[in-house]
């Protein structure tokens, strides 16, 4: 019997050092039917480009399945397989496990093959959260799970998900005469939750395709570090967010500049902000959320009071959370004091 390999090596995907160094080859190309201005399609393109040709991609049901794989005109150059709405985590585990077993038994050539499973916010944060959480606990398999979050079930007609922002107008939460705000849930903090809850997972990041190079390099990092990894991407959606498609890129930037979407990565348990979120964390002033919200038709029914509420929640995230954007709890004052005291004692003792 062959000796079990515990972890297979990964591909060594060095970060692209500048836009001009990005590979020219495309692995997600023509043939898809996404909407004009679709940022999720851009995420697919950049993700595939960052991963390269020795990659297997699994896609959960959602826009990026339905729009991208019309029979006879698939947009995928790399091997691609559909998985069920709530099964991105399981698809990644199964593919990685199958490849690993066959390589160990010398049934296929031993080589590092990237495994990427993607899902939308409905597939990832709603139905498939348990599957992703489970997947991140198998340290012996190498794969990336990427959640493209366009903040609604956009493929099925813009129904709200647990990732839809407070108050947004969706087909399941239309503003009406009696109730202006039907959707009162606050968006889940998925990347933070997964990073905090899976200590063996070596890499979790948030990304934004408006910052393409940073985004691609996070994908390369996630595929290189080894073990299961997770990336959460915020994708402006012209249809669901109700804006002119030309504004997708600007809205992606505004999400970061207003502090609504913090960019961070957690590598081996250490969190770092990057891009403009880093300067925000270091004290740079955030743009008012009003600038972000009022460019989207889904918030057109918002009153000043609603915008203030939204701003207050974002302020709280940056000012009160233990780690802004990542860990939504704070320490009580007595614990803070006790910890500070023990740090002083430790320093003195040393």
């Amino acid at each position: 019997m062959t000796k079990a390999l515990t972890v297979l090596p990964t591909q060594n995907l060095e970060p692209f050092k500048g836009v001009k160094k990005i590979a020219l080859e495309e692995y997600f190309t023509s043939g898809h039917r996404t909407c004009q201005g679709c940022e999720s399609a851009l995420v697919m393109k950049l993700m595939a480009k960052a991963a390269g040709p020795r990659t297997v991609i699994l896609g959960a049901t959602g826009c990026m399945y339905v729009a991208n794989t019309t029979y006879y005109s698939t947009s995928w150059v790399v091997p691609w397989m559909h998985t069920q709405l709530g099964a991105a985590g399981s698809a990644a585990v199964g593919t990685a496990a199958g490849l690993k077993a066959l390589m160990r038994k010398n049934r296929i050539k031993q080589e590092p093959i990237n495994v990427i499973a993607f899902c939308g916010d409905g597939g990832g944060a709603d139905m498939g959260l348990s599957s992703i959480s489970a997947a991140l606990t198998y340290p012996e398999y190498n794969f990336l799970i990427l959640m493209y979050d366009n903040e609604s079930y956009a493929n099925t007609d813009i129904q709200l998900s647990s990732m839809t922002p407070y108050g947004a107008n969706t087909t399941f939460s239309p503003p009406g005469k009696a109730r202006r705000i039907l959707h009162k849930r606050w968006k889940k903090n998925v990347a933070g939750m997964l990073a905090a809850g899976h200590p063996e997972c070596r890499y979790v990041a948030t990304v934004d395709a408006s910052y393409a190079l940073e985004m691609m390099n996070r994908v390369r990092k996630a595929l290189t570090i080894g073990g299961p990894t997770f990336i959460h991407s915020l994708d402006p959606c012209p249809k669901g967010w109700d804006y002119d498609p030309i504004q997708s890129h600007d809205l992606g930037e505004l999400a970061v500049e207003t502090g609504v979407w913090p960019l961070f990565e957690v590598e081996d348990g250490v969190l770092k902000f990057y891009g403009k979120s880093k300067s925000i964390a270091q004290g740079r002033k955030r743009k008012p959320v009003r600038e972000y919200l009022l460019r989207q038709g889904r918030f057109a029914h918002f009153t000043d009071e609603d915008i203030e509420y939204f701003q207050k929640k974002i302020d709280q995230m940056w000012e009160r959370w233990l780690i802004p954007g990542a860990v939504c709890i704070a320490m009580s004052d007595d614990i803070k004091k006790a910890l500070a005291k023990s740090e002083v004692e430790l320093a003195t003792a040393n």
């Binding site: 062959t2 091997p79 397989m81 049934r107």
Partner: protein, 407 residues
């Protein structure tokens, strides 16, 4: 004590094991690559047995403890797509929890083999045997077989891989094993050698359907009304071909192992000259065969026919086995509320299969043994007496009976 008739290297090893442990032995011999476990009684003893084999170095496979049955079936589904031989299974509501993954597997043409340790669909809470769990895939493109003994479980698991992975078929196969009666009962099982199994079972080769960077295909694209009917028709054709491939596999199995020489689809017991026949599947055969013998001693021409494959349904064999009888009683360990004549699932399958015969027997539905309740000798006698009366009078007073139920 057994006498070796073949060279020692190829001799079967006798083991006292349960039905689940017998299947685990088959998985070792089939050298499976990926297996996923999740606990639910009674199927899960197979996963306990597999875990031991892996821990002891007798089987080299990825053993993944999943977080739900849905995850369990999705994981092996994807492992199968990259060319791994996989095993999975569940029972009762666990099987139902995985139903989305189970339902899509046949259209993906993935030869997954799964064990259904048949269990009632609680609520109300019940661990006992009922067949409604596995029967939920009856129409979906899974091959579906029911086994009667631990030996048959081992043999059938090997046959299941051979048939499912045949490129002419590429369909998943579920093995129904009655919860407790078969999953947990220990008997002597002949466990063949790896050499013999290697002669019988080739490696799983997905050919041009393999998901790998060297073969960059897109699997399960959006086809909608443009192609769905053609794809369903391909599934139908594969299921039709399965009949011949199953026969071929049984012939080869018999040649190599010296067992399973009988009819692959139905087992007939004292049925050739029977006026009335009880018909059913799984471990039901034990009490029914004993009952048949007793009734024969009293001069009643009673027989028993056991169905071995529900999908593909062996219409000619069932017609042949039952066509000469005056009355057939289909004993269902399942229910189908509101169905024609309020009969259960097998009853309606059999009645449909017999319909085209120029002269066909009366068919009565017996629902019994639900929730793991024992099918007793008294029940067998009761059912036979009903059939004998129908045979004698030629009249069906009542098409459906619940047997062994209080109140």
């Amino acid at each position: 004590m057994t006498v070796a008739t073949k060279p020692a290297a190829a001799a079967d090893k006798e083991m006292l094991i349960s039905g689940c442990a017998a299947i685990a032995q088959a998985l070792r011999l089939a050298d499976i690559d990926v297996v996923t476990a999740y606990p639910i009684r009674p199927y899960d003893t197979v996963m306990q047995a597999v875990a031991k084999l892996i821990a002891n170095g007798e089987l080299d496979a990825e053993y993944i403890v999943a977080s739900s049955e849905h995850d369990q079936f999705e994981i092996v589904k994807h492992a199968s797509a990259v060319g791994a031989r996989v095993f999975c299974g569940s029972s009762g509501v666990g099987w139902m929890y995985a139903m989305e993954a189970i339902a899509v597997t046949p259209a993906l043409r993935l030869p997954m083999v799964a064990l259904v340790g048949n269990r009632a669909l609680d609520d109300p809470g019940a661990f006992g045997c009922e067949h409604n769990d596995a029967l939920c895939v009856r129409d979906l493109g899974w091959m579906l077989t029911w086994v009667d003994t631990a030996q048959e479980a081992l043999d059938t698991a090997l046959i299941a891989y051979r048939v499912a992975e045949d490129p002419r078929i590429f369909l998943p196969c579920a093995i129904g094993a009655d919860g407790a009666f078969l999953t947990h009962s220990e008997t002597i099982v002949k466990v063949p050698s790896k050499e013999k199994v290697d002669q019988f079972l080739p490696k799983y080769d997905r050919g041009d359907k393999l998901l790998h960077p060297d073969n960059p295909i897109t699997i399960a694209p959006q086809v909608n009304e443009d192609w769905v009917m053609e794809i369903r028709k391909q599934n139908d054709e594969a299921m039709r071909r399965a009949r011949g491939v199953i026969q071929e596999a049984f012939r080869d199995f018999h040649k190599i192992f010296g067992r399973q020489g009988g009819n692959p689809f139905v087992e007939s017991y004292m049925a050739d000259d029977a006026e009335v026949i009880l018909f059913g599947q799984g471990t039901l055969s034990m009490p029914v065969k004993v009952g048949v013998r007793k009734l024969r001693e009293q001069g009643h021409k009673v027989g028993f026919v056991r169905l071995r494959w529900l999908r593909p349904f062996p219409t000619p064999e069932v017609q042949e086995a039952l066509g000469r009888a005056k009355a057939v009683g289909v004993v269902d360990r399942d229910y189908s509320f509101g169905s024609p004549n309020y009969g259960a699932v097998l009853y309606n399958e059999v009645r449909s299969a017999l319909y085209d015969l120029p002269k066909r027997p009366h068919v009565i539905s017996f629902i019994c043994g639900l929730g793991g309740r024992e099918v007793t000798l008294d029940s067998v006698v009761e059912m036979s007496e009903i059939l004998l009366k129908v045979a004698k009078t030629g009249k069906v007073e009542q098409p459906n009976y619940w047997i062994g139920v209080r109140g």
